[in-house]
């Protein structure tokens, strides 16, 4: 039972962070209908930023979140103004491959600068500590803090989108860019802003994740696929959808934990032979495929 509750708790905690990872993707898609393949690489940038600033200042990456947010915002805006702006004039094939090029670029730039080895945060006020929240569930402090801060960041972006003038202008651009332009909304700036917010939120997520996840130049694709799955489940363009779908995907990522539980409970020998840990991420891809085929609009999708 402990095993089961532990997996559920771990899944939900991870899911909260993942929701923040996917938030940027869904905002960008909602506003511009472009799918950013480099999303996982943006996360990687956030992770390196968190890691390096923490190492340089000797503090915990959690305290350098503002730096990550600024870096991410600038990254998003620069990518939009320097590249995406030209890309969106072309057909969808070009958009897909173009953002894929951006992904390759960022990935190999990281490879050139940082090398291919895994890097982790070794010290910090949270690393190595954990809470026992009862019922045998032990939560690492890094994950708990990341989850909490993710939810706060998520709420902040949600408030920005729903309670401010800028957020309303963004939503208007998303619903109908041409009409928004006639209303005097600078849609071009709104697009750049969407990329800024998207980039900023995902790099913050990166700086949170780096506390408990090793970073290397090749880890972006996995998170891109995770983010796609979240966004497909929550509905492309839906912010609340991204949050709940993030939790679901967090649980999907804990499937090996559940598998252990069932193996332990039922004690069938063949279950132990399944290399579930190696297939950990496969369920993400399976989930994406099944979700889009069965319900293309996702749970909360308002646009397709």
């Amino acid at each position: 039972m402990d095993l089961l509750l532990g997996s559920i708790a771990a899944g939900i905690v991870l899911g909260m962070v993942i929701a923040l990872v996917a938030l940027g993707l869904t905002i960008i898609f909602g506003v511009m209908e472009i799918v950013n393949f480099a999303h996982g690489e943006f996360l990687m940038v956030g992770m390196y930023t968190g890691l390096l600033t923490a190492q340089a200042t000797g503090t915990d990456p959690i305290f350098t979140l503002p730096v990550a947010a600024i870096v991410g915002f600038l990254l998003g805006v620069i990518c939009y103004a320097g590249f995406i702006k030209f890309l969106i004039r072309g057909p969808m094939v070009a958009q897909l491959l173009g953002t894929f090029g951006l992904m390759l670029f960022l990935r190999n730039l990281a490879l050139l600068i940082f090398g291919s080895s895994d890097r982790t945060v070794h010290h910090g006020i949270l690393v190595g500590k954990s809470f026992d929240i009862g019922m045998g569930i032990i939560l690492p402090a890094t994950k708990a803090a990341a989850a909490g801060l993710s939810v706060i960041a998520f709420l902040a972006v949600w408030l920005l989108m729903n309670r401010t003038k800028i957020g309303k202008a963004l939503t208007a651009t998303a619903l109908n860019a041409q009409a928004a332009r006639y209303m005097g909304i600078p849609t071009e700036k709104m697009n750049a802003l969407a990329w800024g917010i998207g980039g900023g939120s995902v790099t913050v997520a990166g700086a949170l994740i780096v506390n408990f996840w090793a970073v290397n130049p090749f880890m972006g694709l996995l998170f891109t696929m995770i983010a796609f799955t979240v966004v497909a489940l929550g509905g492309f363009g839906s912010v609340p959808g991204a949050f709940f779908a993030g939790l679901v995907v967090g649980l999907i990522m804990e499937i090996p934990g559940f598998w252990d539980f069932f193996t332990y409970t039922f004690d069938w020998p063949w279950m132990a032979d399944v290399p579930m840990t190696s297939l950990k991420y496969m369920w993400i891809y399976v989930a994406y495929f099944v979700i889009t085929v069965i319900r293309p609009r996702g749970l909360f999708g308002w646009k397709h």
């Binding site: 799918v35 969808m92 094939v93 390759l104 190999n108 730039l109 490879l111 290399p275 297939l279």
Partner: protein
């Protein structure tokens, strides 16, 4: 009979194209006489393989307009079928290649049916997802060597083994893949003029219009996907005989899928020469960048940075590719 005539009939291209194509084909034939290094030879073989991959992709992705980013799974199916059959039962290439194609086509029908209910981005990402699922499964499947993959290189090389395609010198592989290349080109020339080719181009244009003209859009896409699959799987079988070592992370990686799509797009998706031009530009560039900048100067990853920049520039400024530019200039001249 008419099929054969259509396959060898290139007369709808301007004469200048045919002269250039003929000259290039001749150069391909005599290339081994001049090739100074085995490196150049290896690059050429790569070029032919990727041209063929690109032609396969071009059927569904170029003529059909369906952005398929999961072709690596079929490279993997072809390559693994050949390698496993060779290692376990000593079955020669010429048997295992069609078997691999059959398996790949069956798999393509299974996933193609739900896949083509999706459109646009959903479709493109779903093709990636299916490819990654297969890759993960192969990574844990011990029958096919799991994560370590398979190696088919013999300890000592026998005299040229035409049945198993085990050669010591690259020149055998060169002429073999050149043969495949010419056959593939003829097939593509037939395909673009075939009923399915026309229907696909109409589907790419406007699906509702295609339906009103009596085209079963879903089925036409699935059929074409199977053709693309067979193409890619065939070359995958050759690929493993040539490189001799396969690992799932390599042969089924997303990078390979993207490379295939990218070449066709750079050259000009939906045109006969597009994939060949694209491969002709990208493969030598990749090989030499890696050689000069990567290995020689010790800058790991810099080759791919250049590569990524090319992708970005092409997709932002000339999405119709090199052949698109040529056609644009020609149309302008004619008017």
């Amino acid at each position: 009979m008419e099929t054969l005539k259509n396959a060898v009939d290139f007369s709808d291209f301007p004469r200048i194209d045919l002269v250039i194509a003929g000259a290039v084909a001749f150069l391909f034939l005599i290339f081994p006489l001049f090739s100074a290094s085995s490196f150049a030879m290896a690059t050429m073989i790569q070029f032919f393989m990727f041209s063929l991959y690109g032609m396969g992709w071009n059927t569904i992705g170029g003529y059909g307009g369906q952005v398929d980013l999961g072709k690596a799974q079929y490279v993997g199916i072809g390559a693994y079928t050949t390698a496993v059959m060779l290692l376990r039962w000593d079955i020669p290439f010429w048997v295992s290649m069609p078997v691999g194609m059959g398996i790949a086509v069956i798999w393509s029908f299974i996933i193609g049916y739900p896949l083509f209910r999706l459109k646009g981005h959903y479709f493109a990402i779903a093709t990636i997802a299916t490819s990654l699922v297969l890759k993960d499964l192969f990574t844990v499947w011990s029958f096919v060597g799991a994560a370590r993959g398979l190696e088919i290189s013999p300890i000592t090389y026998p005299p040229p083994d035409y049945m198993r395609l085990i050669f010591k010198e690259d020149i055998y592989y060169y002429y073999l893949i050149l043969g495949f290349f010419f056959l593939g080109l003829l097939y593509m020339n037939w395909f673009r003029k075939s009923r399915l080719g026309f229907q696909l181009r109409c589907i790419k244009d406007n699906e509702d219009m295609a339906r009103s003209l009596g085209i079963n859009v879903h089925w036409a896409k699935i059929k074409t996907y199977a053709i693309a699959t067979a193409f890619v799987s065939m070359v995958g079988s050759f690929h493993v005989c040539y490189i001799k070592v396969i690992e799932p992370v390599d042969i089924m990686s997303l990078d390979l899928s993207i490379l295939i799509a990218l070449m066709a797009m750079l050259g000009g998706a939906g045109s006969l020469w597009g994939p060949i031009i694209g491969a002709g530009v990208l493969i030598p560039l990749r090989s030499y960048l890696k050689e000069w900048l990567g290995a020689a100067a010790g800058l790991v990853g810099i080759d791919l940075i250049f590569y990524a920049l090319i992708i970005m520039i092409v997709s932002a400024f000339e999405p119709r590719g090199i052949w698109g530019i040529v056609e644009k200039v020609r149309r302008r001249k004619r008017r």
